[in-house]
């Protein structure tokens, strides 16, 4: 975030997107009740009130993932970030929050900042998070205890760092998909969507 109002660089873009993921994941975990609501605290960001976890283990995990993600965003090697919600009783995937990331790899070569103000980007991010909050109205209720996992889709030629390992895509059998809003920093474009397991009643 070198020039705050005039434009945005690759580094700034990566930081913005990583920040969005941090808040987005926190609000999904809060909204979907994966962690008890009393372990969250309210902060104000993007001109709106957001929930942030106070659970130390979860905090550590999220900072680990987000910092690594930032690196990858900077290298433009990440394709997707997926938040998978799994039922603990049946080991069945119930929800998939997928964030497709389109990187403009030309930004790696030219260091010239793009002309898009941070305010407009934050406005876009805010509307995405609002939509995530609103999805609770149509998503099926999670009746069983659930846990979540974060998957990162990266380019094949990437060196897998320590502590990371390869995983399956964890797809949902018979899913229903809903596309959410997207935002772009003009370097990274993030398309969000949620897929959830179809309920039998419908």
């Amino acid at each position: 975030m070198t020039s705050t109002l005039k434009g945005i660089t690759l580094k700034g873009s990566a930081e913005l997107v990583a920040e969005f993921f941090s808040f987005g994941i926190n609000s999904i975990l809060y909204q979907r009740g994966i962690y008890p609501p009393e372990t969250f605290t309210r902060v104000t960001h993007y001109d709106m009130s957001l929930q942030l976890t106070t659970d130390l283990k979860l905090k550590n995990y999220l900072t680990n993932v987000v910092s690594q993600l930032k690196e990858w965003l900077f290298e433009c090697t990440v394709q997707k970030l997926v938040l998978v919600i799994t039922c603990l009783e049946t080991n069945e995937v119930l929800e998939r929050w997928q964030f497709d990331i389109e990187c403009d790899k030309s930004a790696k070569e030219s260091s010239a900042p793009r002309e898009k103000s941070i305010k407009t980007i934050q406005d876009e991010i805010r509307s995405v998070i609002r939509q995530i909050t609103a999805t609770v109205t149509f998503l099926p209720l999670l009746e069983t205890p659930c846990a979540f996992d974060l998957l990162v889709y990266t380019d094949k030629d990437l060196v897998v760092p320590d502590k990371w390992e390869e995983s399956g895509p964890q797809t949902i059998d018979q899913s229903e998909e809903v596309r959410l809003r997207s935002f772009t920093t003009s370097i990274h474009k993030v398309n969000s969507m949620v897929a959830y397991k179809k309920t039998e009643s419908v």
Binding site: P36, P37, E38, R42, M48, S49, K57, L58, Y61, N64, V65, Q79, K80, V82, V84, T86, L88, N91, R96, Q98, D100, P145, A147, F148, D149, L150, L151, V152, Y153, T154, D155, K156, L158, V160, K163, W164, E165, E166, S167, G168, P169, Q170, T171, I172, S175, E177, R179, M193, A195
Partner: protein, 720 residues
């Protein structure tokens, strides 16, 4: 009223009754008989009343004492209950205390006996009083004596009271001691219980704790929830408004959504249809183009046809003229096929001829070369011949010369012969002649040979010329064949072009089909992408090894294992319990604690059950005692005050006098909120207007009113 009861009070009452009932008759007699006895009787009556008052007073005191005693008994019993309840394990101490209590009870009984003795004395006094009726003076004396006795009795009663107080104090002391002991006992028992039932208590505590925690957490959650909601409401007020407006539109939107979904589906179908139609349109356009082309071709064809028909006519004419049977197109086609076949045959021939031409040309060139050679040869030959001709001419000339020479020679010879005699020189001459003749013959043969050679050479040239002519002919024919061959070649290329065009069209169709397939596959790919599929060649999926799901799963597994272990352990325990305590004891030491834990509650339950039974029994007894006492109290009240008091409803008391003329005559009192009693209006109370006005309104005394009513009723009864 049951006067058969043998209690002290009732016996006193009986005696009193008898006392009252006895003088009634004589009094009446005296009233009837003479007025002289009035004064005496009045005095008697006053004395009686006085006496009765005193007696009542003493009785009341006694009753009070008795009540106190009863109260003491009751409190004592209550203490006993508490003792029994509290000190189950320190039973020895309790029994000791109970023994003491029994002793005390015995003392109390003694006191009661003493009271009975006093009562007996009272009866004696009554007897003395009876005697006093016979003799006033004796009566006075006995009265005094009795007063003294009464005083003594009072003293004894007060002394008894003191004793009772002392006893009560003692009991209180004991109570306090017992309570201390019970406290100690309870502590000990609690400790004991703690040791005995550690597991159960812990679990109970845990449960209670959990419940408390859950309730606590629920409350906290509620509080937080409320706070959060408040915050949300405050902060997202604007959003809420918009949402409200949106919410109002929700059904419409839903409808619209439904409609749009339908539209969408319809549009999707129509899009597919559209693409299909587009393809069709494309195909049709192409067809149209082709059709136009074909149209043009058709026109051309028609023109051609015209031409051809003309030609055909010409042909037909020709056919007619030529004699070929060309009547129908089939014939023509047959003819054409025949011609084609012929052509093909001719072509083949052509090819063969071409090859032959080539070979012939080659041979021709060879022949030409040969020809030139031959020509040169012939030229040489001609030259030779000419040379030989010249030679022949020269030779002929020579021959002529020779012949002339010979002739000359002959002539010479003949002349010689004639001149000379034939005999001398003739042989020489003949010899010479012969030689000349031989030479001639030789030259002639040589000449003939040369001529033969010449003719031979001429023949040769003739054959060569013939060959040349045939070769030239062949060449021409070949040239013709070649021309026809080129014609057939152009036809072939046309066919090839059409074939190739068809192939191109096929390929175009194939391409379109593949494009559609490609589109479908791309759509599918997009859908798979949405569902989270990825290209394993380009992409890899990573996640942290230590992620919440893995941790949660691990924890869950551990929990399951622990539970499973517990289940197996408990199952073993159950089995051992089923197989019997002895087996359980004989098993491992690790099983024993849990075993004893499982047995402990049953023992306690039995204890508790016993306690409960005993307490219930006590309750029952107490109830019976209370009932009896209340009945007694009510009877006493009735007897003493002359009123039976019933509680009709809450705070309402009905008083029925013992002297009531009718069963229904009763007074109703209501207890006010401040504790004051108020008389309610009844049929009976209406008849007592004067007394109500005097005692209640003027004197404001209910007891006075009641006694006045009693006296009035009593007087009415007695006067009748």
């Amino acid at each position: 009223m049951d006067l058969e009861d043998d209690t002290t009070i009732l016996t006193t009452l009986k005696s009193f009754n008898s006392f009252i009932s006895r003088p009634e008759h004589p009094q009446r007699l005296s009233e009837h008989s003479a007025g002289s006895g009035i004064l005496q009787s009045q005095y008697k009556r006053s004395m009686e009343l006085l006496e009765a008052a005193e007696r009542v007073h003493s009785k009341n005191r006694y009753l009070q004492l008795d009540q106190e005693k009863k109260q003491m008994e009751l409190s004592h019993k209550r203490a006993r209950f508490e003792l029994e309840k509290a000190a189950s394990d320190s039973a020895r101490d309790l029994e000791h205390e109970v023994d003491r209590n029994q002793e005390l009870l015995g003392q109390i009984k003694k006191l009661e006996e003493r009271a009975e003795e006093a009562n007996k004395k009272l009866t004696e006094q009554k007897e003395a009083n009876d005697a006093l009726q016979m003799n006033l003076e004796g009566l006075n004396k006995t009265l005094e004596e009795r007063d003294d006795k009464l005083g003594a009795a009072n003293q004894t009663i007060s002394s008894l009271k003191d004793e009772i107080r002392e006893l009560r104090q003692k009991i209180q002391n004991q109570d306090s001691k017992i309570s201390g002991q019970t406290l100690e006992n309870q502590e000990l028992q609690e400790k004991l219980d703690l040791q005995q039932r550690k597991y159960q208590e812990v679990s109970q505590l845990c449960q209670s704790l959990q419940a408390a925690q859950s309730s606590c957490s629920e409350h906290i959650i509620k509080i937080k929830e409320l706070e959060r909601r408040l915050a949300f409401q405050e902060q997202d007020f604007a959003i809420v408004k918009t949402i409200k407006s949106e919410a109002a539109r929700v059904p419409d939107l839903e409808k619209e959504l439904k409609r749009l979904k339908d539209d969408n589906a319809y549009l999707r179908e129509s899009r597919e249809n559209c693409s299909l139609l587009k393809e069709e349109v494309e195909g049709l356009r192409k067809k149209l183009e082709r059709m136009e082309k074909t149209k043009e071709e058709l026109i051309n064809m028609e023109l051609e046809k015209e031409r051809l028909t003309e030609k055909l006519h010409a042909w037909e004419n020709l056919g007619q003229s030529t004699g070929l049977n060309i009547r129908k197109p089939e014939d023509l086609s047959r003819e054409v096929i025949q011609i084609q076949q012929r052509e093909i045959a001719l072509k083949e021939q052509n090819y063969t001829l071409n090859s032959r031409v080539r070979s012939v040309e080659r041979s021709q060139s060879e022949l030409r070369a040969e020809l030139t050679q031959q020509r040169s040869k012939t030229l040489e030959e001609q030259k030779k011949r000419e040379a030989q001709d010249a030679l022949v001419r020269r030779l002929q000339k020579r021959v002529l010369l020779l012949t002339k020479e010979r002739d000359g020679m002959r002539a010479i010879l003949e002349s010689y012969d004639t001149e000379l005699a034939p005999t001398e020189y003739s042989p020489q001459l003949s010899k010479r002649l012969r030689e000349a003749e031989d030479i001639l013959q030789k030259t002639q043969s040589h000449n003939a040979e040369m001529e033969a050679q010449l003719t031979k050479a001429q023949e040769e040239t003739g054959t060569l010329k013939l060959q040349l002519q045939t070769a030239e002919l062949e060449l021409e024919s070949l040239k013709k064949q070649q021309a026809s061959a080129t014609d057939s070649n152009s036809l072939l290329t046309k066919e090839e072009v059409t074939i190739l065009r068809q192939k191109i069209e096929d390929l175009e169709r194939e391409r379109q089909r593949l494009e559609e397939q490609n589109n479908i596959l791309e759509m599918r790919l997009e859908r798979h992408n949405l569902q989270g599929d990825y290209d394993p060649v380009k992409t890899r999926v990573l996640h942290l090894k230590v992620n919440p799901t893995a941790i949660a799963k691990q924890e869950r597994q551990q929990e399951v294992e622990a539970l499973r272990e517990e289940v197996t352990r408990l199952r073993d325990l159950v089995r051992s319990l089923q197989s019997g305590g002895a087996v359980g004891h004989s098993q491992d030491d690790t099983h024993n604690p849990s075993f004893s834990l499982s047995l402990a509650p049953s023992k306690e339950v039995l204890d508790l059950r016993k306690q409960m039974e005993s307490s219930e029994l006590r309750n029952q007894r107490l109830k019976e005692v209370f009932q009896r006492k209340i009945q007694e109290f009510r009877t006493v009240c009735y007897v003493l005050t002359g009123y039976q008091i019933d509680i009709t409803t809450e705070n309402q008391y009905r008083l029925t006098s013992v002297y009531a003329e009718h069963m229904d005559d009763s007074l109703l009192f209501k207890k006010g909120s401040n504790g004051s009693m108020q008389l309610m209006e009844t049929e009976f109370s209406k008849t007592l207007g004067e007394m109500v006005a005097l005692h209640l309104h003027h004197q404001k005394s209910i007891p006075a009113f009641l006694s006045a009513v009693t006296l009035d009723l009593f007087s009415r009864q007695t006067t009748v």
